[in-house]
Symmetry: C2
Subunit: 145 residues, 2 copies
């Protein structure tokens, strides 16, 4: 089986190669990736296409029953927007590459019954640190700072 966090990281790396913010995500349903995405702020001038949102958008319109059998992999702890989207669709499990760079709404997710696993992945962390060192203003824009 494909390593899903590696697939999310590959999305992040692809975004970085495009000059974008290196955060990637994949939506997995019953052991299969049904949506892949990465942050598109730079590439599409988007205010809402974080990696997780892009993966969900690329998965297309799905019935609620599908989301409830999904796992969402993301290279970075999900912000309030992406966490709210996880709650809207009732995605029961989120696997996070790292949360040292940014601590998202993990507690909110857990309080609503979402299983949250943090992998403390060095590759995810190092890519974000390299990006933030290069472009701190772009990172701040992405998280509303």
């Amino acid at each position: 089986m494909e390593n899903f966090l590696e697939a999310a990281y590959a999305e992040a790396a692809a975004g970085y190669a495009e000059g974008g913010i290196p955060i990637g995500s994949v939506l997995v349903h019953r052991g299969k990736i049904i949506g892949r995405g990465h942050n598109r702020r730079v590439q599409k001038g988007s205010a809402i296409l974080h990696g997780e949102m892009d993966a969900l958008e690329n998965a297309g319109r799905l019935p609620a029953a599908v989301y409830r059998e999904c796992e969402l992999y993301t290279t970075l702890s999900p912000c309030p927007m992406c966490s709210g989207t996880i709650l809207l669709y009732g995605i029961p499990k989120v696997i996070i590459g790292e949360n040292k760079t940014f601590m998202g709404e993990e507690e909110l997710l857990r309080s609503k019954g979402v299983q949250v696993n943090v992998m403390d992945d060095a590759a995810c962390y190092n890519l974000m640190q390299q990006f933030i060192k290069d472009k701190p203003e772009l990172w701040n824009e992405d998280i509303g700072v």
Copy 2:
């Protein structure tokens, strides 16, 4: 000055005329609309373009300082995704057409210091009721039910 809730309603009505889900939104900065949008689930096959998200996306990339001077008008109480986005960007005030059809995360928003005004607007309510009567499955898909 333009009536901003009427502008959000006009977006909702435009979406309905397109065969879509009739929820509209406008983002207002210092008394001027800088983003207009409506739900695009049907029109774009989108899982994330709720009315509020579409208005924010159409406003384009903005620095955090601008969002902090904005008001977001929406015809319907904002779901967890849209509420999370309001929190991500620190939008301080949300004006809601109605919350009888759907009660969103108003308490979460208030708990984080967002001013939330509910207008109990009959036109917003009646449009949603008409839509849900026609297409209940589409409405359920939009709110993850």
